[in-house]
């Protein structure tokens, strides 16, 4: 089956990011296609390139990136939710005159239309809320 994941809360704030990551890994292990993970509202903080949690804690940002690289899962970040929270890729940082980017591949800034597209295209859309 084709699955999409919608994640709405920041890492280390609630269990949502851990739950979503665990669920996505299990989906892939079960042989499902994960067509995308969409980060919206405070969920965009999962894309924070500069996150540096203590070494004895799970690194959620790196875990998402690793999952994307190993399984070609698109990591789509709502651009409107990201920009107002200071999460900018190189292109947006240049456009807004900011020094340095806080979002890097495999995370991609994208529009809310991509979430609608995932919902229409996939057999299942599973939401992990705050």
């Amino acid at each position: 089956m084709r699955y999409a994941i919608l994640l709405l809360d920041a890492p280390y704030t609630s269990q949502a990011s851990h739950s979503a990551l665990r669920f996505t890994r299990a989906l892939l292990a079960r042989g499902h296609d994960v067509e995308g993970v969409f980060f919206y509202h405070d969920g965009v903080h999962n894309a924070a390139r500069l996150a540096a949690p203590p070494q004895d804690e799970p690194h959620l940002v790196d875990s998402w990136a690793e999952l994307a690289r190993e399984h070609s899962v698109p990591l789509q970040v709502c651009i409107a939710a990201a920009l107002r929270r200071g999460l900018l890729d190189e292109q947006e940082a240049a456009r807004h005159g900011k020094l340095g980017a806080s979002v890097a591949p495999p995370f991609e800034l994208t529009g809310l239309g991509q979430l609608v597209d995932l919902g229409l295209r996939c057999d299942r859309l599973i939401t992990f809320g705050p």
């Binding site: 669920f23 079960r30 299942r124």
Partner: protein
């Protein structure tokens, strides 16, 4: 048949919203802090979904609640969670 997930304990008003939003054949899966609802003391809150109430094993274990749960609550692990999303037409998340 829909799957509903709830990540809030029974003290939350979200529980009433979830129960009101459920159809007669829908299933309710307690996840995260929602698994507190699997304790016997909270049985009365879930009378309307008797036989259709599930709790996520990993979240029960991480809170030390697995041995304390109400035996009427069915326990599923993440694999079982996925299996429920496969068989149910859609999944509604309450939070």
């Amino acid at each position: 048949m829909l799957l509903h997930t709830l990540n809030r304990p029974p003290t939350s008003q979200v529980l009433a919203q979830a129960l009101a939003g459920m159809g007669p054949d829908d299933k309710l899966l307690l996840i995260e802090d929602g698994v507190i609802g699997a304790l016997p003391a909270h049985r009365e809150h879930f009378n309307r979904v008797a036989g259709r109430l599930y709790a996520l094993q990993e979240d029960l274990e991480s809170r030390g609640l697995l041995p304390l749960r109400d035996q009427a609550v069915r326990v599923v692990d993440v694999e079982g969670f996925i299996s429920m999303t496969e068989t149910c037409e859609r999944t509604v998340s309450w939070y």
